[in-house]
Amino acid sequence: MDFKANSTSDSMTNGSAVGPDDTAIALSVDDLTVAYHRKPVIWDVAIDLPAGSLIGIVGPNGAGKSTLLKAIMNLVPRASGRVAVFGKPYRASRHRVGYVPQRESVDWDFPVDALDVVTMGLYSKIGWCLPVRKKHREAGMEALRRVGIADLANRQISQLSGGQQQRTFLARALVQDADLYLMDEPFAAVDASTEKAIVELLRELKSRGKTVVVIHHDLQTVPEYFDYAVLLNMRVVAHGPIESVFTSENLQKTYGGRLTLLDEVSEAMRRRERSL
C-alpha cells in the first residue's frame, strides 16, 4: 500500500507525458478483456486517450462502460490486457487518478456529512493512521465552494438532493487534485442547474490541462460537452475526436444490437462447460 504524498514531484519526472505536446497520451489501454463467469463483458479493448481533453464514453446498457473504468483501476480482475496511465502501470500512477463512482454505488444513509465525504479524497495524501486536520477540512470546504454547496458541508449525506450528492462526489474528486479523472455517469438523474455546474467544472478542469473521462448517457449533449469520444459495445466500435467518430453510422453500429456472434460463442462456451 504505497501512498505517495507528493504528486508534483512525480508529474515533473514524468513531465514529457503531459507537457504542451498535443499528442501526449494520458491513458493507454491495450488488448483489455474482462469476463464474469467466463462471459466476456468487454472484449479486446484498445484505446489511447489524449491528455488534456474531455472524453465521453457512450454505449448501450450492458456495453461494459463501468467495467472498463473499473478494469483500468484494477477494481475488477482482467482476463488479459495492459493499462498505462501517463506511461506507467496504474499502481504507480494511482495518485494522479481521481475516481467518481456511480452515485448509487454507495449507501447514502452512512453516518457522515458532506465535508467528511469530500475529505475522503485526501486520505491517501494524509497517509495511513494519521488524522484529518484543519487544513484538510479547509481544502474540503474550498472544493465544496467550487461546486456551490459549501453551505451544506455539515449535512448528513442522506439529507442532500440527488444533484447535491453528485456535487459532493465531484468535490471529493477535486480535492484529489488528479491529472486524470474517471467519472461514472456524473450526469445521471441530476437537476438542470447541477448539470450546468458539472459541465462548467469539466471545462475548467480541461483548461487546467486535466484529462477527464466521463461515462455519458445522453447522446444529444455528447458533441456539446466532449471533444473526444469512445463508442463502446463490448468492443470499441470507434474512438477519436468527436467530429470524426460521432457519426450516425458509428452510432448505429454501437446501439444497433449486441455483437451477436460474440454472444453466441460465449453461450456455446457455457453450454459446453455445463455438459462436461
Binding site: F3, H95, Y99, V112, Y123, I126, C129
Partner: protein
Amino acid sequence: MIWNWQLDGWIVAAGILCAVASALLGNFLVLRRLSMLGDAISHAILPGLAVAFLISNSRSSLPMFVGAVIVGVLTALFTEWIRGVGKVDEGASMGVVFTSLFALGLIMIVQAADRVDLDAGCVLYGAIELTPLDTIKLLGFDIPRAVVVLGSVTVLNLMFVVLFFKELKLTSFDPSLATSMGVSSTWMHYALMVLVAVTAVASFESVGNILVVAMFIVPPATAYLLTDRLGIMILISTGVAALSAVSGHVAAVVVPTWFGYQSTTTAGMMAVMVGALFGVAMLFAPRQGVVIKWLRNRALSLRILCDDIVATLYRRSEHVAADQVRMDDVSMNVEELTETLYASSRQLRSALARLRRRGELEQVDGQYELTDRGIEHGRELVRSHRLWEQYLVSEASLHPTKIHDKAEKLEHFTDRSLRDQLSDATDSPVLDPHGQSIPPERRGDV
C-alpha cells in the same frame, strides 16, 4: 444474594470489557451490512476451538486464539467462495458455512468431553459468574484471567478503530474509491474479520459464542438510531455496551430476589438489557423515533385542521360577498364546522383554541369569525389551492374533476415563493379551472 464488590465487581468488569470490545468492531459490521457475518464467525469458530483443545489438551489461550482466527478467516473466505461458485446470495452462503462448521464443532466438543474439561453449555452461554475464581498474578495483583484477556482484546480493538478510523470509514462507505486510492478494502475486510474472530474467542468463556452476537450488533444498531455521525456513533455504542453489562448483572443478581427468585444468568440478562436499550432508543430516537414521529404527525394534523377551518370560513365570506348567503352567515358555530370538516370535537376544540391564541379567529355568542389576520391567512390558502388546481390542469393535464383532493393536500405546504412560481408557470391566472376567482397575493392587488 448480596452484592459483593470483590466478586460482582470483577464480573461487571468482564462484562463491560466484553461488550465494549465487541461493540467497537460491531459498528463497522453494521455499517458494512455484515451483521450476519459477525454471527457466522462467532458460531463457526467452534471447531477451531475444539481442535485446539484436542491438540493442546488444555484450555490455554494461545492455541485457542490461533485455531479460532484460522476458522474465522476461513468462514469469511468460504462465504465469498460459495457465493461466487454456488450463485447463491450472501445470506444463504453464510448459512451453509457457519451452520455446518458450528455443528462440526459441537460434535467434536461432545466427543472430547471425556478427555478435556470442556462443557458444551459453557461454550454456548458462557460462565461469566465464574470469572473471579480463575485468577492470575499481574503486577502483584490477583486479577481474573478473563478480565486480562478481555482487557487486552479491548485495547487491541480500540487501537484498531482509532488508528484506522479513516481507512475503516473510507472502505466501509466507498470500497471501490478506497481500492482505487490504494487502501485495499479486501485487506481491511479481513483485518476486521480476524479481530471479530479474536473477540469472539475472548468473549466465549464469559458470555458464550451465541450471546456475543448481541454485543456485536445491538449496541451499534442502537447508536445508529441516535446519531448520524460515525465518531459519535462509536462512542454511543460503547456507552450502550457498558451500560448493558452493568444493568445486566444488576438485573440478574439483585432484581430476581425482590420477587423471591434466585439470581439468574448474567450473560443472558446482558443480552436482554441491550435489547431493551435498543427498544428505548427506537421509541425515543430524536429523528426517527416512534414517539417523535407520532408527535410530529399530531402537530401536522392539527396544523392542517387549523388551515381547513380558516379556509372554510374564508370561502364562506366569499359566498357572502357574492350575495349567495345572508350577511350574518359569515360566521360559523362548532356544529357547522364539525359537519363540514369531519373532525372530532376534541381535535376541533384544540384547533379553534390555537387559532384564537394566534389572533386569527374571534368568537361572538358561539359563532366563530375570521379576524383581519385570519382573512389574510385564508386568502393565502385559497390562493394556493386554486393556483394548484390551475397548474394541475394546465401543466400536468389532469381532468378538472380529479384535482380538488390533490390541491387540498398541497395547499398546506405551499409558501409565498412557491405560489409566485405557480403563478408564473400558469401565466398569472385570475380564474381557476372551476371558474372561481383566484384571490391576489395581497389585498387590493389585481
